[in-house]
Assembly symmetry: C2
Homo-oligomer: 188 residues x 2
Amino acid sequence: MADLEEPKAPARWHLLDDKLLNACRVWDLRARRYRHPELGHEGEFYYIDSCDWVIVIARTRARELIMVRQFRWGSDALSWEFPGGIIDAGEDPVTAGLRELKEETGYIAESGRLIGHCSPNPAILNNQCHIVFADNVELHADGTDWDEHEEMEIRVVPESEVFDWARDCKIGHALALTGLLYYKMLAG
Amino acid sequence: MADLEEPKAPARWHLLDDKLLNACRVWDLRARRYRHPELGHEGEFYYIDSCDWVIVIARTRARELIMVRQFRWGSDALSWEFPGGIIDAGEDPVTAGLRELKEETGYIAESGRLIGHCSPNPAILNNQCHIVFADNVELHADGTDWDEHEEMEIRVVPESEVFDWARDCKIGHALALTGLLYYKMLAG
């Protein structure tokens, strides 16, 4: 068993090969072959190769947060979340967050700031999700600009009620809940 | 744009077809064909079909949490997380959490309880992750029982320091951070 007095860092495996198995539009299924640097054994591991994502926690002057609900084809169900999406190539995470906020909800902010980032799932995904906080957001007259297939319910929810929703598992998306943890720790 | 006075729930799409593309050992890549119930347009959506997962937040009598660090082949990096893994067919989430805790870290608890659950990613995954809290855990003489390829650093970290790790993005796994939010809200 592990020696708890002098913990030993686990080995970083050596990458031997990395191949595409299926291109899935906005992400790819790939497989990597690795060798353990000391033990010598090898293994093949499947993973999803994806661009980075962003979610944005947008707050009104009345301390309400902008929530969206949409049908999700992975879970085959409706899901309450924060606005967000894929960061375009070369795009700054804050710019991407404010763009997604505007496109999905019609709300705009003068500025935003990064309050955290995470690995959506380091076991099977290679990307990062950035968490942007935008304060004093306001509804813009231009409204939303949804992508093909996007269809959302937009709700402006008092901050304390959003935490009730999380407690009651009404918000299910792990990235939204991760965003809420950063919001609680760092948004002020 | 969306009418904010009378928000309309987005449609639940109708499932037309669901096919296997790649079997990836512990999960499968699949594609579903859907039709929008009112607009009539169709789309094919890729997703990962996976068993449910569990993570366990295990606390000692001194209010330290049991953390593990392991090499993750998705992110190609070492990752600090809570213990956890795949729930076996028919296994109760709490039983699974206490089993993973024992196997991965050598710590045992008399009991555990569910403090939340989440969708790891409803856009591309169809499974749930359950969050188990186990209090007053103790190291068992039997030690760990790692699966093939498992190799972990085990650290017993004061609760306040775990939140510092989260704030500093030293804990990156979104499921661990989601677990920490539930712990903050509900463990007591």
